[in-house]
């Protein structure tokens, strides 16, 4: 589902991908069910994040790792399903790869500084 233009509504022109079912009402309704499953997963993971803080009593390092791991899973669900990054065009992936590289550098700079202290 890369470029989304209404194709199920007869008032709207279908633009591409003739023959694929990405714009069929059945496909869209299937997607809507998936969104609700993702909502459920996000709710459970949010509760898990808070519960881990107050019930697991982990050392700081482990607590940070766990909280960021859960946040990353939630981020994957939002980006993958709500932002449709699981099935995007190559150009979007190229933009994001470049972004991730520079974002990584931004985060690496302070981490590098911390590592140098020890």
């Amino acid at each position: 589902m890369a470029e989304h233009v209404v194709a199920t509504d007869p008032a709207v022109p279908e633009t591409h991908a003739h023959g694929d079912d990405h714009h069929s009402p059945e496909h869209i309704k299937r997607e809507m069910r998936v969104y609700l499953y993702v909502l459920g997963a996000l709710a459970v993971l949010t509760a898990a994040t808070v519960a881990a803080r107050f019930y697991l009593h982990l050392p700081t390092g482990q607590a940070i790792a766990l909280a960021l791991a859960i946040a990353s899973i939630k981020g994957f669900l939002v980006a993958g399903f709500f932002m449709h990054l699981l099935s995007e065009k190559k150009l979007i992936y190229a933009i994001l790869i470049l972004t991730v590289v520079f974002f990584g550098i931004l985060l690496w700079l302070p981490v590098h500084e911390v590592i140098d202290k020890f």
Binding site: A2, E3, H4, V5, V6, A7, T8, D9, P10, A11, V12, P13, T15, H16, H23, P25, I28, E31, M32, Y35, L36, V38, L39, L42, A43, T46, T49, V50, R53, F54, T60, A63, I64, A67, L68, A71, K74, G75, V78, A79, F82, M83, K89, K90, L91, I92, I95, L96, L98, T99, F102, F103, L106, L107, L109, P110, V111, E113, V114, K117
Partner: protein
């Protein structure tokens, strides 16, 4: 200049227009990129937003690891309202994607209802955030108090401004912007997808802000 501009229609075909300019590829994907222009634009914008928030997260790491003592977020801040806000924002993300899906199906009423629900969630988020700020300020915690509160107010304040920006766009689409649904449905639906991508990004930032500031 004789007042005639050479423009391109939604298919990218050149066409003569009189005193108006039609933005090309607002509905149909460009053949070379495979996506319509608005979508490419919002992703480029979101890439710049990643760097903006990335710089702040980078600063947070540096300030936190350099500090001899760092306050515990769950002791200084208010976890319950923040958890509720997380749920509200996640719910709003689902609403906006359901609005878009319903508009693709041609369901105007449901689409409009879900956009209104998204806007309502935005108001809910901002209201809870204001309550939370009032609690912090009431306890004498200001941005000048220490580095923890400086970065807390900076990051949540900037995030709140992004929520406000999204709310303004949703309010526009619910109001005067809805006219386009009756004239150019595909273009309008694409607009909802674009604002939806922005809204999901705002949700995504909060997903990382919440544990980083409140729970660690």
């Amino acid at each position: 200049m004789d007042g005639h501009l050479v423009t391109a229609d939604a298919h990218g075909h050149a066409a003569a227009a009189h005193h108006d300019f039609e933005i090309p590829f607002t509905v149909h994907p460009r053949p070379d990129t495979g996506i319509y222009n608005g979508k490419l634009g919002i992703w480029l914008f979101l890439a710049s937003e990643v760097m903006l928030f990335g710089a702040l997260f980078s600063s947070l790491i540096l300030i936190r690891t350099s500090a001899p003592v760092w306050p515990r977020g769950w002791e200084e801040l208010h976890v319950v309202p923040a958890t509720v806000n997380t749920a509200v924002l996640i719910l709003s993300s689902v609403f906006v994607v359901l609005a878009w899906a319903n508009l693709r199906l041609g369901n105007e009423k449901a689409g409009r209802g879900f956009i209104a629900a998204t806007l309502l969630c935005g108001f809910g988020f901002m209201g809870i955030k204001a309550y939370e700020y009032s609690l912090s300020l009431g306890h004498g915690h200001f941005p000048k108090t220490n580095n923890f509160f400086a970065i807390y107010f900076t990051m949540t304040g900037l995030h709140g401004l992004h929520v406000l920006g999204g709310m303004i766009v949703f309010a526009y689409f619910l109001g005067p912007g809805w006219k386009m649904w009756h004239t150019e449905r595909a273009r309008f639906t694409n607009r909802i997808e674009i604002v939806g991508l922005y809204w999901h990004f705002v949700d995504l930032v909060w997903i990382f802000l919440f544990p980083t500031l409140y729970l660690l």
